[in-house]
């Protein structure tokens, strides 16, 4: 089966810092793929490349097996890829509903809408209320400005946006980082529901229990590249943590072995 | 409205509400207009009238002058003295004012047509430029004039007229023309830059005396001040002093005070008797220099210092 979204040998350098160093990536249809790795491993850079927000220096990206070139976030959106960025990408001075529909506003169906391009503000607020309620986020009013929301409330808005509009792939960069216990649970549920809709989801998270609860496969990222792909069914949390810290290594045959101490210290 | 206001004029002057005279100059920063304003104020005080002075914000601010005239009419000015930015820009506002019975007198600059205002009191700027050129040419003893030309604001009528007058009479070889906005600093900088290549210069035309002083500082730094004839226009006391000190060879004096006094007198007369002046009153120009040249009618700086303004 061709992967829905695939990347080969992505490289991205920032001056002396190499954020991605030949990263590969594969997302199968209908799965939840977790991407885990240390801080600074290059996870965000990877998914930014996949969503067109960053243009890699080298490497290629394929959607449904066909090579694509993303020049900006809009290009990936057109392919149905929807992303929650780590820094959320919300406009603080605009209200919740406006942020949710930013870039794909709905116009009214009546002549005011078709001729005068008037927005269906009420309809969008209603819909915004609906998707946020689904996440169980308690916000007073859809016309509240995003800058007045708590950290978690903001994150929920960004997650809701991606969930509502993704049609081929949904990518979430640490969507539950600022969320409470309940709200995190809701987001995991939501991810499950998206998968049930048949959409694959990429989930970046540092929360191993979450990862092991929801992921079908786990992509382990380290020092700018993929070092292993494991299944949470066959591998333990400790194995994954070992892999991402570099204490363990996946051999070519897929078995996991300890990195011997001298090599481990050489860094 | 016109008749009643005319009639009540004298009562106003006697009672609490003095006669209001409006003055609208081009700017309130140019020393020339400041002198005009101060003279008008003094004359108004002497006659027990009230003078409200407004101005555009810069050379060419027609919109500001229109608003000023409108606001003066609203405020109940009986006479408006105005130095129009250009001859046609503010005719609409002038007409509206006159329709309401206000006496409008143009100072310094004529309108086109002249009868757009009740009367005009003005100098001839082209003539002033011509006089400057005439003197400079004569002072060069038969050498052809090779001039640096320091203009005012690009495109301003006065600047164009004076420049044209100078070129007409001096027939100079143009070694470089720069806009200085009549500012000493800019004139100095422009002259410095031009002197880098205009090594054969023997004369400088300047739009006004600050520009002339700027040119002088730049020439002096190159030890050229003695070899170059600087001419100017205006007749401010600073300018005449510069002529006296030998920094400037000649300046063509104008008489803003006379214009202002004459204008205020007309206004006071109008308030008293309702009599409107008409026609064109031309004020003089005088060539001021301490090195008179035969064939050119000129005054010395002693006379100049007595008659200068500012």
């Amino acid at each position: 089966m061709t992967p829905v979204l695939e990347a080969r040998g992505l490289v991205k350098r920032y001056g002396r810092v190499t954020a991605m160093d030949g990263a590969d990536f594969e997302l199968e249809s209908g799965e939840v793929l977790a991407v885990v790795g240390d801080n600074g491993a290059g996870k965000s850079t990877l998914i930014k490349a996949l969503s067109g927000a960053v243009i890699p220096d080298e490497g290629e990206i394929l959607v449904d097996g066909e090579r694509v070139r993303f020049h900006g976030p809009l290009d990936s959106r057109k392919h149905g890829i929807e992303t929650v960025y780590q820094d959320l990408a919300l406009a603080p001075a605009l209200d919740i509903a406006t942020n949710l529909f930013l870039g794909r506003e709905r116009r009214r169906r009546d002549p005011l809408g078709t001729v005068f391009r008037r927005l269906d503000t009420k309809g969008m607020r209603r819909e915004a209320r609906r998707v946020l309620d689904e996440l169980g986020i308690d916000v007073k009013s859809m016309s509240q400005l995003v800058e007045t929301l708590s950290g978690g409330q903001r994150q929920a808005v960004a997650v809701a946006r991606a969930a509502a509009f993704g049609s081929r792939v949904v990518i979430m960069d640490e969507p539950t980082a600022a969320l409470g216990v309940q709200e995190s649970g809701k987001v995991l549920e939501l991810i499950g529901r998206i998968r049930d809709r048949g959409l694959p989801v990429v989930l970046i998270s540092h929360n191993m229990p979450h990862v092991f609860e929801i992921a079908d496969r786990v992509h382990v990222h380290r020092l700018g590249r993929r070092v292993a792909v494991v299944s949470p069914k066959t591998h333990s949390m400790n194995a994954v943590v070992g892999l991402l810290t570099g204490a363990l290594r996946m051999a070519d045959d897929g078995s996991i072995e300890e990195v011997d101490l001298t090599t481990g210290l050489s860094r | 409205v016109g008749c009643t206001s005319t009639k009540s004029g004298s009562d106003d002057a006697a009672g609490d509400g003095k006669t209001k005279i409006g003055l609208v100059t081009k700017t309130d920063s140019n020393p020339y207009f400041v002198a005009l304003r101060e003279a008008a104020k003094a004359q108004a005080d002497k006659n027990g009238a009230e003078l409200v002075a407004l101005a555009g914000k810069f050379d060419g601010d027609n919109d500001g002058q229109v608003a000023a005239i409108e606001n003066l009419v609203q405020q109940g000015a009986k006479t408006i003295l105005v130095t129009p930015n250009n001859s046609t820009g503010i005719l609409g506002a002038i007409k509206k004012a006159r329709d309401k019975g206000v006496l409008v007198i143009a100072l310094d600059t004529e309108t086109d047509p002249q009868d757009a205002v009740d009367a005009t009191i003005a100098t001839d700027n082209t003539e002033a430029g011509r006089l400057q050129g005439q003197y400079v040419k004569a002072a060069l003893n038969g050498q052809p004039a090779r001039s640096i030309l320091l203009d005012g604001t690009p495109g301003s009528t006065v600047s164009e007229q004076r420049h044209a007058g100078y070129v007409e009479s001096a027939q100079p070889e143009d070694l470089g023309t720069e806009a200085t906005n009549g500012e000493q600093n800019k004139a100095q900088q422009a002259t410095e830059n031009l002197l880098q290549r205009a090594t054969t210069v023997n004369s400088v035309y300047t739009i006004n005396e600050p520009a002339a002083r700027g040119a002088y500082v730049a020439l002096k730094a190159k030890n050229l001040a003695d070899k170059v004839v600087i001419g100017s226009i205006d007749g401010s006391c600073d300018g005449v002093t510069a002529v006296k000190n030998g920094e400037i060879a000649v300046t063509v004096m104008q008489f803003p005070k006379k214009m202002a006094e004459q204008g205020v007198d007309f206004a006071v007369e109008f308030a008293k008797s309702g009599k409107k002046p008409s026609g064109f009153v031309k004020t003089d120009t005088a060539v001021v220099t301490d090195k008179p040249i035969a064939g050119i009618d000129s005054k010395d700086t002693a006379w100049g210092l007595e008659n200068c303004w500012g």
Partner: protein, 322 residues
């Protein structure tokens, strides 16, 4: 828990409320201290006097909402008046001349926008450059002359009519009103408007949200340019004479109106309603101080103080929220 906003909150969130208070205060003070300020004629005049700067300020508002600034707006309008007047003088039909002038202003706006978006240059410096260039080109084009306008269409906006036989209005006011309503609608009721705010508020977020940032900014400079063209028409209605030296302070005056109107120079926050009020405040100050018999230089001092005060009033009326 409803999505309705209570009236008091609505007022607080309307960014034009501070400026409106300042305007009312100014009108009341001048009404009390002079006998001539509050008469109908004078009030009409004040509105007429605010039209050109007000129109320039509308375009300026758009640009400032995108976190830009336009120092060239008045010079573009002046160039447009020259183009229109010179064309009309050489026999071109008034309507055609007008259209050419407005489109030329739009085209210059496009160039500015192209430099800002295409080369990612700071708007301040691009428009400063354009200011120098356009002013010089106007002067070269005018060759030291100014051009009186006689064609009816061109001066049409200055034509006065009387409402109820009393209130003097001009077509210029109607055009201003129409433009304001159009912009208000476009900014608050269409997707384009949301994009303008989003781009000004946080360009990177807007980009990641899939907004065509460059296209939006470019469209703003284009629309602003067209508005400056209309400002040229308004100017010819006020002063039927195209002069290359006119409106040299129009850029700063229009920015003043925008900022007094409560729009943030950092982009993304503000409204055209505020700008309208801001432009009126400036005209009211100028007129009121004259009615009070204050000389020009002292008027300048007072205007400076009052402009600062107007913004301070705005700040305090909203300060309660924080």
């Amino acid at each position: 828990m409803t999505t309705r906003v209570s009236p008091s909150e609505y007022i607080l969130r309307t960014p034009a409320i501070g400026p409106a208070i300042a305007l009312v205060v100014a009108v009341v003070v001048f009404g009390l201290t002079t006998d001539t300020f509050l008469n109908v004629d004078n009030l009409s005049l004040v509105v007429q006097q605010s039209l050109v700067i007000g129109t320039l300020a509308l375009g300026q508002t758009l640009v400032i909402l995108t976190a830009g600034i336009d120092l060239a707006n008045a010079s573009i309008a002046v160039f447009s008046t020259l183009l229109i007047a010179k064309l009309a003088m050489t026999g071109t039909d008034g309507v055609v001349a007008l259209l050419v002038g407005i489109l030329a202003a739009g085209a210059i706006g496009c160039v500015t926008g192209g430099l800002v978006t295409g080369l990612r240059l700071p708007p301040f410096i691009v428009t400063l450059g354009m200011l120098t260039i356009v002013t010089a080109v106007s002067r070269i084009y005018a060759q030291g002359q100014s051009f009186p306008v006689t064609d009816g269409t061109l001066g049409w906006l200055g034509t006065t009519q009387y409402l109820f036989g009393q209130i003097e209005v001009t077509y210029g006011m109607a055009v201003m009103l129409a433009m304001f309503l159009g912009l208000w609608y476009a900014l608050s009721r269409t997707a384009w408007g949301k994009h303008v705010y989003a781009v000004g508020n946080d360009p990177e977020s807007a980009r990641l949200s899939g907004i065509h940032v460059r296209r939006t900014v470019l469209s703003v400079y284009l629309v602003a340019g067209l508005i400056y063209g209309i400002a040229a028409w308004q100017a010819l209605g006020r002063v039927p004479n195209a002069d290359p030296n006119a409106f040299q302070l129009g850029n700063l005056d229009s920015i003043t109106a925008v900022v007094i109107g409560g729009t943030s120079l950092f982009g993304g926050r503000g409204s055209v309603l505020g700008t309208l009020v801001g432009a009126l405040i400036v005209a009211v100050l100028r007129s009121g101080l004259t009615q009070a018999g204050i000389d020009n230089l002292y008027q300048d001092v007072a205007t400076g103080v009052l402009v600062i005060a107007a913004v301070a009033v705005d700040r305090f009326s909203r300060g309660r929220q924080r």
